[in-house]
């Protein structure tokens, strides 16, 4: 059993847990994830490690309630426990001194970008971060990102905070300003990551994205997480989750992520998590 030692509600559907998981806290690196299971009938849900405290033996998970399992998770309170956490999984981010690095976080993708930005800075890079959300209330990790970056830009779709527009608009401006960019790292909704890839492609700026296909085991056993990268099938859990954005076939990824929507609808209607999702 793994205990929730702290819970924060960041918005009605975004929650943050600090979980007691000493062995994982000791080992994990930026870019890695865990797979959790709430109870004996639970699904195996992959979640990125948004932060960790090696001394306290805790890891931070941040999640958006999108379906039955994440809704059920969101209802748990401080002091309660979940059955399983396996990890750390996936390959750590390649952190090295490169020059100027742009770290882009979209929506809750900002959480996993944060430890990467921090590590990039610690490695001696100049870190420019861009974080975006649909609206001001959905922005997360603003202070953390500010501390981890040399420059921070904020965008909202509706202009309620920062620059009105998308993270890609700011990225274009940075490139136009002839800023020499060593690497762009982007985590967020797949459409955003695809957008970032298209912006940097003509300039051949190395661009890395973290993919989140549907997973089961997370150890390379089921092949369910396969993604098309440069005309090859890769398993995101063991070959990734980070890949060269210019090689990724995003359309296939988007389609595969929708695979279980019809079934998940049934799950929600049957009361797991008690959600009202997918019903519109």
């Amino acid at each position: 059993m793994f205990k929730i030692v702290a819970k924060k509600v960041l918005s009605p559907t975004v929650k943050q847990f600090a979980m007691a998981a000493p062995q994982i806290a000791k080992k994990c690196q930026p870019g890695q994830f865990v797979i959790i299971r709430i109870d004996d009938e639970g699904e195996r849900v992959p979640l990125t490690i948004a932060d960790f405290d090696r001394d306290k033996g805790t890891i931070t998970l941040l999640f958006q309630e999108v379906g039955a399992s994440t809704q059920q998770l969101g209802q748990l309170e401080e002091g309660e426990s979940i059955l399983d956490i396996a990890g750390p999984l996936g390959n750590p981010t390649h952190i090295k001194k490169m020059g100027t690095v742009v770290c882009i976080g979209g929506g809750i993708g900002t959480a996993p970008v944060y430890p990467i930005a921090r590590a990039m800075k610690a490695a001696g890079n100049r870190v420019i971060s861009i974080i975006g959300a649909r609206t001001a209330e959905l922005l997360i990790f603003e202070d953390e990102m500010k501390n981890a970056s040399d420059e921070l830009y904020i965008t909202t779709d509706d202009g309620s905070k920062g620059i009105k527009g998308f993270v890609t608009d700011v990225l274009k401006r940075l490139i136009d300003d002839e800023e020499k960019l060593a690497e762009v790292m982007a985590i967020g909704p797949v459409v955003m990551m695809r957008g970032v890839a298209e912006v940097t492609r003509p300039y051949k700026i190395p661009t890395v994205v973290s993919l989140n296909p549907i997973m089961v085991d997370g150890t390379g056993m089921c092949g369910g997480c396969r993604v098309a990268v440069g005309n090859e099938s890769k398993f995101a859990c063991v070959d990734g989750p980070e890949f060269d954005a210019h090689q990724v076939d995003f359309d296939t990824l988007i389609a595969r992520q929708k695979m279980y929507i019809p079934l998940e609808k049934k799950s929600c209607e049957n009361g797991r998590g008690g959600c009202k999702c997918h019903q519109s």
Binding site: K27, E41, A86, G220, C222, L263
Partner: protein, 465 residues
Amino acid sequence: MSPVMKKHAMPEQDPKVRAKNFNEVTLGYGEDTALAEAQRCLHCKTAPCRQGCPVEVNIPEFIQHIKDGQMDEAIKSLKSYNSLPAVCGRVCPQEEQCEKHCVLAKKGESVGIGRLERYAADYAREHGETVTAPQRKANAQKVAVIGAGPAGLTAAGDLAKLGYAVTIFEALHAPGGVLMYGIPEFRLPKAIVQQEISNLKKLGVVIEVNAIIGRTYTIDELLDEEGFEAVFIGTGAGLPHFLQIPGENLNGVYSANEFLTRCNLMKAYQFPKAATPIKVGHKVAVVGGGNVAMDAARTALRLGAEESYIVYRRSETEMPARLEEVHHAKEEGVQFRLLTNPLEVVGKDSWVTGLRCMKMELGEPDASGRRRPVEIAGSEFTLDVDVVIMAIGQGPNPLIQSTTKGLDTNKRGNIIADEETGQTSRLGIFAGGDIVTGAATVILAMGAGKKAAVAIDKYLQEKRQ
């Protein structure tokens, strides 16, 4: 008195009924039948049957005990060779192993060795078998076993019996390996696997689940920081192969591992009570001809598919699946599309709508000694299906090899280990089972676990001196 030339039949669920449920297909011998079947054994002095058994179970001996009604003795004899008889009695390819060599097979049918093994094991389980914890050595050395499949479970059990302090590290949330996530409930009830595992715990073996070696710990950390003095790697062949044909990333294409894991380990057949979904489809094509393919095709029927096809590029004679499983699959209504090779998964709006195939004929034997399938020009056709399951084999998972320096592997990525001892290229690290041999059988994996336990004992004794 002329001997009974045929094996006593084993009662089974009616094919029509069982094709809709997950209960065990075969029901096991009753006492009378078991006794009658045991009577058929001639107790040959040479016991040719034993030579066919990878762990050389003393077959005439345990059958004699059944005959004499000494069930405790029967199970004791069996367990001294094979720690998972209830599993092996169900899933071993007996017709290729012990039973093939039985002298009765020459004139009629062999003794039903597997069925008797199962009978003895089930009897022991149902009559409350007792497991006593072995004496642990003073200052028992710690041994780490990686992977809780048949190889790891066997090695762990034998080492615990020898007095070592054994911890199994298992990546998934449940121990058992393929026995839990791969082989379906209707062939191997999960309660039996869990009982065997609870016996292991009674022997003092500690099982740490959710521990992925190469990630949660590396082997070197186990040795240098966690105080383990030897390691056994039994991580199996879990990495699924795909055909690398167009359309394989369409929605509705599964590896057999994913399909079976969702169903067996994650209990997707209880969805939405269990949280994990599975897309079953109306018409399902399973590509492959082994046990894994049969399991997937039969599982699809049980989950409600109207049509379930086996698509295999050679003929039935070359099919690697156990005869009994092929037979059961046919009875349940699985349709065989033999000499058929998939070319492309076709789809619409990112979902599978069919499997384009080519008819094949058999040509000259190839390197495997089997006649090579050759395409028949102009024979293309499309099978109308909405789910395609790839069951064309598995390779080694690279997590351990890539994080352990000096551990030699062959060009397929399997760990190189001595056949007799499991010794790898690194001192104190042993390996066995599918991770060494490539996908094989439960009993071979157990045999490797057994041999490695002996070798590890020897290594640790020498180390202590």
